[in-house]
Symmetry: C2
Subunit: 325 residues, 2 copies
């Protein structure tokens, strides 16, 4: 028995645009302890890591101290697997215009090896290892959170590309003409329509542009969230239902283009927006079949993550951690 | 020495929308004999195979008879590597609405094993084995012929996807609103703008919509080809230059989206349109850098096939043939 096998745990960090969720995970994928901090509100990466380590120390102590931890895995937006960096992440104020060597920073602070990958890649690995994508060799994971992320699996392997940054499908241009301005500085990205913020934006646009009645009008325009839209749609609000239909249509159209790339057997959706259920999934399916090339019609499954909350991402991040040397 | 190594040759067939080019190739990639027939003008696949075999027999005899041929490899539009079929190929009148078991048909007629893949995949394999993509692990081959095809290489492997049909990037929707009608029945496909026929279509559109002077006006509108446009552009014709610029802009924009998928180190262009050289390549490069996500800027090479004529596709098809069992 070598030193590695004597350490039973790995830390997984799901670093999202809004929250950072930590889990201490054993080799069977059981999450032994969990904690979280807000991702935003820090001046720079140093402050973020400092706050993260302070919070982590509590649960590390709970499981038996740092001696029980083998390594750490991070899933983060614009994460580079090859270099352990976060680079120019449009949704992270402290990593917007810089290259942050986050794996090295955590490694130094904790004294353990740290590996890092794109947050959506981590979710895809989690889903493939523990979730609904078990056994799938060709699928595309699409995370619908603050932004839209993706992890592409081809022949059972995650696609990292030449530079470690493959799979940024949230920034595929869906509307090259008159598209919405994206956080990345370009126009018409998928993310501007199909993220949680995109849904809220659709609501504000539709409420401002029309005089149509809607339960959403009881809320302050600038405070409307995608959850509000889902709740109102559930209550039968026509305008809210239309917004989810619009969002699903756009996602189906995007998936039809993605099919022409890697012809996956499934798309797996993950993140807050999927809570809307068939309100979102039905228009995705219908729009996909309407838009896709004949060749691909009727071949694809649309699945929703089977792992609760951010488990898929935390477990995926931890799986990345197990593979550190 | 087994029977296989005693047979020194493989037949490669580059089955294009217009021409079908055959080559008899040795293990070092030397093309020993070549011949061609028109692809179109046949009532059905049976007639096509019959004509192909008649023509092939002449060069088979030249190299020493069928006893010297180990196998055959085919690169064909909508070719399925897993099944050896051509399925619903929009540009092939005799395979438009049917599944054609072309590998089996040739195998039966010639008495040798036959393997088949997408024509652009074959070109990518040819380029990777013998051409400018030698040593590249992550690249996308884009063929600009009658249609637009693609072969995607990730980590040194061709992407076939779940069903053998991955990599139909000519049918990525570039203009979801008011796009041109494509042979596939949908609107706004890349192929409607950036194929040879797309360039001719751009010329006809621009000539009809404006009264601008152009050398192209000396030609009959319906007979204008992409080559005519290149020739006139070379002579300094502004309108013709603009058409190539428009085409290159669209290709650059498309490649910027493809980067977000597999983040390749290079795009390799192949086919008739590349004869226009920098007239096409310059706007591709500029448009790509203008459209691509910050993350990918300045990382990609734009290359043109180094293999003459249809050699890349024939050699690629033959490479597929070497791998038959």
């Amino acid at each position: 028995m070598n030193e590695k096998t004597m350490k039973p745990y790995v830390i997984g960090l799901d670093l999202g645009g809004t929250n950072s969720v930590f889990g201490i995970v054993d080799v069977r994928g059981d999450i032994k302890a969990t904690t979280a901090i807000k991702t935003t509100g820090f001046r720079n990466a140093e402050d973020y890591v400092k706050a993260a380590v302070e919070t982590l120390k509590v649960i590390i102590k709970d499981v038996g101290g740092i001696e029980t931890i083998r390594s750490m895995g991070i899933g983060a937006p614009n994460g580079n697997y090859y270099k352990g960096t976060i680079e120019y992440a449009p949704n992270l104020p402290w990593a917007h215009n810089v290259v942050v060597p986050l794996a090295d920073m955590f490694s130094e602070a904790l004294g353990i090896p740290v590996a890092l990958t794109n947050d959506a890649n981590a979710a895809a690995i989690g889903e493939m290892t523990y979730g609904i994508a078990r056994g799938l060799k060709n699928f595309i994971m699409i995370t619908l959170g603050t932004g839209v992320g993706s992890g592409i699996v081809i022949d059972g392997h995650l696609v990292y590309g030449s530079d470690g940054f493959a799979g940024e499908l949230g920034h595929i241009i869906m509307r090259p003409e008159n598209g919405r301005l994206c956080g990345c500085g370009r126009m018409g990205c998928l993310e501007t329509y199909c993220s949680a913020t995109g849904v809220a934006r659709s609501a504000r646009e539709l409420l401002s542009a029309t005089k149509r009645p809607s339960l959403l009008r009881d809320l302050k325009l600038e405070n409307i969230t995608s959850l509000d839209v889902a709740i109102c749609a559930d209550k039968g609000d026509e305008l809210s239902k239309e917004i989810y239909e619009f969002t699903g249509n756009m996602l189906g159209e995007a998936c039809a283009n993605f099919a022409a790339f890697s012809s996956p057997e499934a798309f797996v959706f993950f993140g807050g927006l999927t809570k809307a259920g068939d309100l979102l999934l039905k228009p995705i399916r219908e729009s996909y079949e309407r838009h896709v090339l004949n060749l691909y019609k009727g071949k694809v499954n649309f699945l929703v993550s089977s792992l609760e909350g951010s488990s898929a991402a935390v477990l995926g991040a931890s799986a990345v951690g197990w593979n550190t040397r």
